[in-house]
Amino acid sequence: MLTMNLEGLEMIAVLVVVVLFVKVLEQFGLLEAGYDDSVEDELELSAVRHRPEGLEQLEAQTRFSRKELQILYRGFKNECPSGVVNEETFKDIYSQFFPQGDASTYAHFLFNAFDTDHNGSVSFEDFVMGLSILLRGTVQEKLNWAFNLYDINKDGYITKEEMLDIMKAIYDMMGKCTYPVLKEETPRQHVEVFFQKMDKNKDGVVTIDEFIDCCQNDENIMRSMHLFENVL
């Protein structure tokens, strides 16, 4: 037993010596460390950069003047030097405008509405084209854009669930401290009102035509559409 112990200890000692020896050899580079070094890490590029199309092309595609495009791009590039906005930044920026509530859900929907090619990031073209529609577009185009925003899964129909999500997102932006206090069923009620107004054939979904028709007949909405015309 004692000899076993001793031998055991000696073995351990020898083991330790061997391990140290190996480490020393590794230092000399004679032995390769057999780990999966992520060489790919070094190849990993820094943040994706994106360069927009030329100024003339953008001028042609949008309704902004050259100067306005310049101003827009300068502001955009200043805020996002890499040239693209990803969803996190988007949410961040948007939530700074609505500090008292949680704007992340609505920002998410907005992001999807802006990200027309659905590649996960909003480039300057997306940004500027969206703005062009919203600020300089016809009423038809604006309503189209709004419909696109509400239609979360982009299937051409706004269902009650989608509308409820949007409504909740909008109410979330208000935050907790409101007057009167926000109740659980307020968004749902709001959705009901909306559907009553919009859903002409009562099939439970709102199509684009129903939507545009209804909005064009609504005075308030028409007036509001012109509200942000002079933003830029």
Binding site: V14, R74, P99, K142, N220, S224, L227, N230
Partner: protein, 727 residues
């Protein structure tokens, strides 16, 4: 809302269209953007380096200088740019803040300079980005510590009306404040040393007596050592009691470390007195003697280094704790391993794990006594690993402690250095202050002259005269002058004539006593003034106009009374330059020559004191000099040679029947002192023309510099010169 996202506002507003269809009621009207100006480039000229940026960039932060209308104050119409007279290097980081929204602290900048820039541009330092914030805060703390050291020294100032107790306490805490304190300090230090040495020597074997073998000295010369011990303890007790008495807060003092050390140092003696020859506790008694060695800690009051060491150890408590902890861990591990490794070997000293502790400690600290050595192979292997790791474990926390010590030590060094330089600094500040005061007094010499010149002189001469005084100075002096006029007081240089005025005033009480100037005199000058009563009977000439009522003897005095700033035009006649006694001649010649042509200008002649010829020497104001010359040098007038207190200014006696010199003149004339005849000549000649005066002033200045004291006034120069002449 964070202004950094102002660029996204249009987007956010546009996206609000998404709410429109959902809303049930109409939206409020949007605000109109009336200031619809195109985004323009703004040029910011910072000390010559031009920075350009968009207006909207600056508008991002409207609560700063550049973002608000405050920058309009710096707008330069001609060049259409905003000019800031600040450091362009620091401005870079400030402008970058506007551009990127992040404020960075450049490491090479001085922290207080940077802070000032931030304050100037209205940016709060708290928004410094995380990347630079730590560095900024560290530097700021360092700077604050440094400044605090400065202030702490100022607390050393003598507080007036300290009662006895406070004086005593201060003497105890700072031995350098008084000789008594220093003596006390050294005496206690000496006795501490004696006490410690006694303790040590007590145990040395002193040689054998007849009946016993080697005894320690303590037992051989019991009485002597006992007396020594008693004396020391007496001193320590007295010291402790005195400190206790003087301490501002006795309770706090009793809790302080030093006081505890004091108590521990003297208690054993008293306990020993009480417990005499009690067998049971004699063992404890012996132990108590060990505590006597604590007296050596009393030295920490005497040594700064010891205090720093103690403070360092205190402040590195966590590192020391870590060191201790890791050492303990390693000791236990290795002791266990060694014990089991050596268990098998015969006659092994590693009898138990605690016994192995000793081996581990000795090995880890690389002492290696060799009283316990492993014999088995495993033991040897583990033993070597133990010693290697010991080196590592000990070496790790040590640099932290060292750097702490170094920082505290250097701080102390700095404090000491600054204390040493404080005296020089204070002296310099004093010189600067009195320099400016004397500059004022001196300018009053020229003050009236300038006034007169402005009124009557030509442009050119004005320039010549005023070029030696900067605009700032002249305006400052004018201000002081106004104050004087308001309060009817005057700052005065030591002025014999004024003194005479005073005496004459008392003498001729019938004279018109307008509010006369009691001027702010330099204390010493004032005292000297008072001392000099017997000497002069000169009329007091004061440079300021209000001095007219000084009863000057004779005609000049009377005329002086009627004096107005403008010199009497009747005194236009230029007088021949007096041919004066020998030593005066050369210098006077010089001045005369320069003065001659000018003396004929009618417009300025009124400024000229008449340089009377010897015959009428006593009659004219200009004769002042001659009169002075005839006077013996009053011994009391001789300053101590440093001339710092302003030499006496002699007013020339007002020769009766002479037209009074213009008010400005007397001052000038007074520059001559009996000791310096050349000076007299200078003044004479100078009086005759302003150019000469300039020369004289220049010469004066030269002499002043040469005398090595820029504060010297004219007369002091003269006096010194005179002294030199005399000797």
């Amino acid at each position: 809302m964070a202004t950094g996202v102002a660029a996204w506002l249009p987007f956010a507003r546009a996206a609000a269209i998404g709410w429109m269809p959902v809303a049930n009621c109409p939206m409020p009207v949007a605000p109109r953007d009336n200031s619809k100006k195109q985004d323009e480039l703004i040029i910011l000229n910072v000390s010559g380096r031009r920075f350009q940026t968009w207006r909207t960039t600056l508008d991002r932060y409207p609560d700063t200088l550049l973002g608000s209308s405050e920058k309009d104050f710096f707008y330069n119409e001609e060049t259409k740019e905003y000019f800031f007279d600040r450091d362009p290097d620091a401005f870079r980081s400030i402008l970058n803040f506007y551009r990127t929204g992040k404020l960075h602290y450049p490491r090479h900048e001085c922290i207080s300079a940077y802070d000032e820039e931030l304050t100037f541009f209205g940016i709060i330092p708290e928004i410094i980005g995380d990347c630079c914030y730590e560095e900024y805060k560290d530097r700021k703390r360092e700077n604050l510590e440094r400044l605090q050291d400065d202030q702490e020294e100022n607390k050393d100032m003598k507080i007036p009306n300290m009662n006895f107790r406070e004086t005593m306490w201060r003497a105890f805490e700072n031995p350098h404040t008084s000789t008594m304190a220093l003596v006390f300090y050294y005496v206690t230090g000496f006795f501490i040393a004696i006490s410690v040495i006694t303790n040590v020597v007590e145990t040395v074997p002193c040689g054998s007596t007849a009946n016993q073998k080697d005894m320690p000295c303590g037992e051989r010369y019991t009485v002597a050592f006992f007396c020594m011990d008693t004396a020391c303890v007496m001193i320590f007790t007295v010291e402790y009691l005195m400190r206790l008495f003087a301490a501002p807060s006795r309770y706090r003092f009793m809790r302080s470390v030093m006081s505890i050390i004091d108590v521990v140092a003297i208690l054993p003696y008293y306990i020993g007195l009480v417990m005499t020859n009690n067998e049971d506790v004699s063992g404890a008694f012996v132990t108590l003697r060990v505590f006597r060695v604590f007296r050596i800690f009393k030295f920490s009051r005497h040594s700064q280094g010891l205090r720093i060491l103690g403070y360092t150890l205190k402040s590195c408590a966590s590192e020391l704790g870590f060191l201790l902890f890791s050492l303990t861990m390693a000791i236990i591990i290795f002791a266990t391993v060694m014990f089991y490794a050596e268990k098998g070997s015969s006659s092994s000293k590693f009898t138990s794990i605690p016994a192995s502790f000793w081996y581990t400690i000795v090995t880890m600290t690389t002492l290696g006594y060799g009283d316990m050595v492993p014999k088995t192979i495993a033991g040897k292997i583990f033993g070597s690993i133990c010693s290697l790791s010991g080196v590592l474990v000990i070496a790790l926390p040590v640099p932290v402690i060292v750097s702490n010590f170094s920082r505290i030590y250097h701080q102390n060094q700095r404090a000491d250095k600054r204390r040493a330089q404080k005296k020089a600094r204070l002296a310099r500040i004093r010189i600067a202050k009195s320099g400016s005061a004397n500059a004022f007094l001196q300018s009053k010499h020229n003050g009236l002259l300038n006034e007169l010149l402005e009124l009557t002189g030509t442009e050119e001469e004005e320039h010549k005269l005023t070029k030696s005084i900067s605009l700032l100075e002249s305006q400052h002096h004018h201000l002081l002058h106004c104050l004087e006029k308001t309060t009817h007081l005057r700052t005065q240089q030591w002025d014999l004539s004024d003194l005479v005025t005073l005496t004459q005033m008392t003498a001729n009480s019938s004279n018109n006593q307008q509010l006369k100037a009691h001027e702010f005199v330099d204390e010493q000058l004032f005292e000297q003034n008072c001392l000099e009563t017997a000497l002069q009977t000169f009329p007091s000439r004061s440079p300021s106009v209000s001095d007219h009522d000084s009863p000057v003897g004779g005609c000049c005095g009377r005329r002086e009374r009627k004096n107005n700033p403008l010199p009497n035009t009747s005194l236009l006649t230029a007088h021949p330059i007096p041919t004066h006694q020998g030593p005066l001649q050369e210098l006077s010649a010089i001045h005369i020559q320069s003065g001659d042509p000018l003396s004929h200008t009618a417009s300025r002649s009124n400024l000229n004191l008449k340089t009377g010829d010897s015959s009428k020497i006593n009659c004219k104001g200009g004769r002042i000099t001659t009169a002075i010359i005839s006077l013996p040098t009053p011994p009391a007038l001789t300053p101590d040679g440093d001339g710092l207190h302003g030499p006496p200014q002699r007013r020339p006696p007002p020769p009766p029947g002479n037209p009074p010199p213009p008010a400005s003149r007397p001052r000038r004339a007074q520059l001559a002192s009996t000791l310096s005849k050349s000076r007299l000549c200078n003044s004479l000649a100078d009086r005759s023309n302003s150019a000469g005066e300039r020369k004289r002033r220049r010469r004066r200045e030269e002499e002043e510099e040469e005398a090595g004291n820029t504060r010297m006034t004219d007369a002091s120069c003269l006096l010194l010169q005179g002294q030199r002449r005399e000797s």
